[in-house]
Symmetry: none
Subunit: 146 residues, 4 copies
DNA sequence: GTGGTCTAGACCACT
DNA sequence: GTGGTCTAGACCACA
């Protein structure tokens, strides 16, 4: 689990960590039950303070994506396959989606291109060997989003 | 031009203003060349400090969406029809898109549903019946979406 | 708003602050909409670090009792009169109640005495105008407390 | 003696064990003189480290609820019928009670409902209600509340 | 070993 | 002025 940070970014470090982990969960790289590095270990690896990692993990815990356990550290609590989101998530999320897509449209990206970007991002979340997933639950193939 | 703010939101007020304006530009409600209320006027209307409005306008100016004239006030600088975005915009934007979509996927929204939300948002930016601009104030119809 | 802390207590300081504020809300001393001292001000008053106050406020915010506003600082979000608790609150709370009452019973406090303590505590939350109790639902009079 | 633990709870495991035992004593399930499983046995049953069980037992010993003998293991030292609590217990306990009840009141549970919960919990400690304690001082009435 | 608490100070963002 | 972020180090609680 290596994640690259941009310490000069205006995005707070703890948010960058959180974002990378969310993306890793979405892409299946971190499945439900996976364990994450300890806060102090990750802090050392990234060359930052452990409190910053702590804050990222705590945020993910509040979002329901992580559970923290004194014994085993942080575990992935949730997954693309765990089920539908908690009520209330979608509304707030769509508000942010609306703002983000508006930004592209206002800058002159046409609708099909925007939708293409969305589809491309989603595709990038299922990069692995579609043939090896035969067993699986089967249903996940719907991802190519068409 | 009415925009509703949530003063208790964790989203800074100046960003809420900026977001609403971006969405208005994306939806065509504010076309290129339209004029916005003066900072002081808008501040009074919203019951906030005019510095806050100023900050929102300045951010939009930096983003290339507004140009500010001492005499004519703030004018919309570009819109969906002005042309493709400046180089560099797309990369940064797709990074944020990736994070946002990952959030939904990690919370269990499946890929088709995510793409459906994207499409629905885009549809909501097309203010139905472009020829109906004479109606003008009846612009509310565009947003029911979904 | 003065609250006394026991810095030697095994109860974390931030929890003591949180507890005192919860009790003040319950007793009507802090009504919905009341403003609390700024984190830094309270920290100075209490002779502790502002981060500790921050943590207490943030906890209360997560519990839905406070809302934090950049402009006006912390405001009481909720009240005995605001309405019934969020679903899920009661179950978790009754678990803790069960443990606490069990402690007294196990130590030999008989049931009526336990119940008497509970009633006494509740009474202490409505200290004002004991003669006006007939009105009952007109209880709002008791709490203006300022 | 079956106790169910939640290893992911924010409540420390040793405290969960302690709480369950306190409740068992309060409900009469564990009477004075009863013997508890050995720390090692219980640890195996629960799938946890025996030091954790040890810590729970030691805490109960400090609280005066258990006595620990090298030969006979852990025995229940007192129960509801052993007599009134040690001096000093009640004050500290009522402080915690006050905080806990305040929490419910602040979240909008009205006084009679709170008192009802207390009464319900106490009733649950009376396993079969042999003589039902007679009049029970009639303290349950919400009179003092409201 | 793990995470949690408290303190401390510097700097930034928001209004 | 307000709160938020990041860093830092010490100490404690838990398993």
């Amino acid at each position: 689990m290596i994640l690259s940070l941009d310490l000069d970014s205006e995005v707070p470090i703890y948010l960058q960590i959180r974002d990378r982990i969310v993306e890793a969960i979405a892409s299946g790289e971190l499945a439900e039950g996976s364990s994450l590095p300890s806060t102090r270990q990750l802090a050392v690896d990234l060359g930052i303070n452990f409190h910053t990692v702590n804050k990222a993990y705590d945020l993910l815990r509040q979002e329901g994506l992580l559970r923290i356990n004194r014994k085993s550290g942080a575990l992935v609590q949730r997954d693309a396959r765990t089920g539908p989101p908690e009520p209330g998530f979608t509304d707030e999320w769509e508000t942010r989606l609306r703002t983000l897509l508006a930004e592209a449209v206002a800058h002159g990206v046409d609708h099909p291109a925007v939708l293409g970007s969305c589809a491309a991002v989603l595709t990038s979340f299922t990069p692995t060997a579609p043939t090896a997933q035969g067993a699986d639950h089967g249903a996940e193939q719907g991802d190519s989003a068409s």
